[in-house]
Symmetry: C2
Subunit: 141 residues, 2 copies
């Protein structure tokens, strides 16, 4: 496996005394990727630039509040750019920056893996759950 060495080196870094998890780059990124809407917005913008309301339509169940928040985060991190057209009423366009485009590749790999592996995961869950008739799992079922 190719990525093995990088994973090992990360693990080594985690073991060091001076390791501060709060400013670990990986934690930082994964927290973003993992939150409920970030990756969704990135994927939507991979298609083409979108306006605010277009993004809302693209993800029907996102609230204005969270969409705004997600976009601000991405803008702050330099993954997307925000362009205001002073028309009336105003129009705002969001699009991926080069940095934002660059994340699509690793993100795409993960998405591919998810799609390829989902059946295996589902059957693994079914097997586990049938072997463990109820309890034993304190979290979301």
């Amino acid at each position: 496996m190719n990525s093995r060495s990088t994973v090992d080196s990360l693990f080594g870094a985690m073991q060091s005394d001076t390791f501060d998890a709060t400013q670990c780059p990986v934690r930082n990124i994964l927290d973003r990727i993992g939150d409920k809407w970030t990756s969704l917005v990135l994927v939507a913008l991979a298609d083409r630039p979108h306006r605010f309301s277009e993004l809302q339509r693209a993800a029907p169940d996102i609230s204005k509040r969270m969409l705004t928040q997600t976009l601000r985060q991405l803008e702050r991190d330099g993954l997307i750019t925000r362009q205001v057209f002073p028309t009336k009423p105003p129009a705002v366009q969001y699009q991926l920056s080069p940095l934002g485009v660059s994340v699509l590749e690793p993100l795409g790999h993960l998405i591919d893996w998810a799609n390829r592996s989902y059946d295996q995961i589902l059957s693994a869950r079914a097997e586990y759950d049938s072997a463990n008739p109820a309890s034993a799992l304190p979290v979301n079922a």
Copy 2:
């Protein structure tokens, strides 16, 4: 970009009427990856199999509760296997399953990207914050 087509097709799927976000494979996976400890445990186990207390030492700030929960999730999803040695006191070993090993590759790509891009992100944040002297960001600074 290679992964562009898969991203686009995902986006297309999201747009369909029959799309149910709650059982979207990608959402499912990213929720796991994004939670606080899953990826950390996966990376730790990439090195070699670990016992429960070894994992605790590897991630000094994880509580027993969360470690147990994370391990259960991963076991249920079939990414890791759990093996109990009925010694006294008992020893339990966790190791990656083939499926678990397979996630290291896309996960490694993302980790690489995070490490490579972190400087850019930090400077983007600094620039954004200096341009927006305070307010304007309702979330964690």
